[in-house]
Amino acid sequence: MFDLVAQSVFSGLLAGAYYALIALGLALVFGTMRIINLAHGELVLLAGYIAYTAESRFGLDPLAALPAAIIIVALTSVIIYLLLTRIRVDREINSLILTFGIAIMLTNGILMIWSADIRSTTSGWYLDSIIIGDTLFAMNTEILFAVIGVLVVGAVWWWLSKSWYGRALRAVSSNRDAAKLMGIDPRTTEILSFAVAGLLASIAGIALYSGKVIEPSLGHSLTIKAFIITVLAGLGSVPGVLIGAVLIGVAESLTATLWSSALQGLVSMLLFLIVLLVMPSGLFGRTRRRG
């Protein structure tokens, strides 16, 4: 029994780091621009399909598709931003409708190009399992992307807190006009952050393809998962994304082990609601002051 629980917690931790990868791009855009990109899951999925094409058509390793995925997905993400800037009133609310529409278009585009079939990686290495310390099992892909997930969370945290553009982005997010008066061009910083969100979605998409199965309708459930983790983390907190994601991952994994895998979704939603009930601004969210 102990072994089972230990294995379950371990798998949950790995799943959490993977969830963090899925959530990070959405959290970045939501946390800094108050825009909820409802097409985020589709961007992740798009990268997954690019990895599929690279593998099935050109015989490449899924990870080798990363540069192509980054270019296409980041570009798509920037196009979404450019469309969002056409919104003149109530950007926060109207962006929901716009990105929802884009999500539907992307889903159908994916369906048209890649058909409705379920795809998964055929590269054996990713799905091989390794045994850690005699008792804990994991697939190579889970370990690989858990490590990448933690590194990427660290990199994004560094970028936002220490780099000039990260600081500029936070400046724009705190006060747009004041940031402009200090010489910051909000458009450049926002384009850049959408491009970074696209880059993050690309990594997440390849993690998705090499560890799970993909199908065109998967996008919105990825978006919902990313949204839950972002809100659970607290807006604007990058380390919070990792911790929130791990919490969800472990809770789901333990539910499946100790109870039933059918209840996974219910338990993670309950966890989400309970956290918000007790801490309305999320685990690490700051209460924002105005004026």
Partner: protein, 238 residues
């Protein structure tokens, strides 16, 4: 000439907020801008810093025509502004507020000047604190001026920065501004309600009323001008 306004008009639909205003500011000058509420002072400031676009007229700063220059580039040619309600960037520390302003406002970093500004604004002891939660009103106002100074301005626009301060606070703040002027050689263009402060600090005063410039001169002559007195007392004879 640092700043020149040539027949500038700002209208919002049918409402003319600033009407045919011309004046200029020279290097190192301390210039006051006064007028009753609604006279168009803040609109004029917004036009100079680029938040609103004049419908007529021409503005030049250090030889640059301001018409086609977006707000974020105006900071780089030397226009600094501090707001009446402090606008700190909440998610950054006090020092970060300054270094971000310096980096983007000037295109380079100079930590020595940041320390000098922290010293000048007496914010050194709170440099690494969060700008959102740890500053009292006076300190927020000092940071507001500090941020503007960090962009290395040749002219600093101050929009009622003294509002809400008590007498000693005002005096201390004016001292800070005077230090800033001497150390960094900036011209000051200040909107202020407090006539006494304006009289004591400004070499020249502009008076706006209903969007029109009705007086331009030394404090002594401006505040003796009957039209200025009328505009302040609402038509009664003083």
């Amino acid at each position: 000439m640092l700043l020149t306004l040539d027949h500038v008009t700002v209208a919002f639909g049918g409402l003319v907020a600033v009407s045919d205003v011309s004046f200029s500011v020279s290097e190192h000058e301390v210039l006051g801008l006064v007028g009753p509420n609604g006279a168009g002072k803040t609109t004029l400031f917004n036009a100079i810093s680029g938040l609103v676009r004049p419908s007529k007229g021409k503005m030049t700063f250090c030889g640059h025509d301001l018409t086609g220059i977006p707000i974020h580039k105006r900071a780089r040619i030397g226009i600094g502004r501090a707001f009446q309600v402090p606008q700190p960037m909440h998610e950054l520390t006090v020092r970060e507020n300054l270094i971000v302003a310096q980096h983007f406002g000037t295109g380079h970093s100079n930590p020595g000047k940041i320390d000098e500004i922290l010293d000048l604004t007496r914010l050194g002891h709170k440099a690494n604190r969060d700008a959102a939660s740890s500053l009292a009103l006076t300190e927020q106002k000092a940071l507001e001026v500090g941020k503007a100074l960090a962009t290395n301005p040749r002219m600093l626009m101050l929009d009622e920065v003294l509002a809400g301060l008590e007498t000693n606070g005002k005096r201390a703040f004016m001292q800070t501004l005077d230090d800033a002027r001497q150390r960094f050689g900036v011209a000051l263009l200040m909107v202020e309600h407090d006539i006494e402060t304006i009289s004591n600090t400004c070499q020249r005063v502009l008076v706006l009323n209903f969007g029109k410039l009705i007086a331009d001169g030394s404090p002594e002559e401006v505040f003796r001008n009957p039209e200025v007195i009328r505009s302040y007392t609402g038509g009664e004879t003083a």
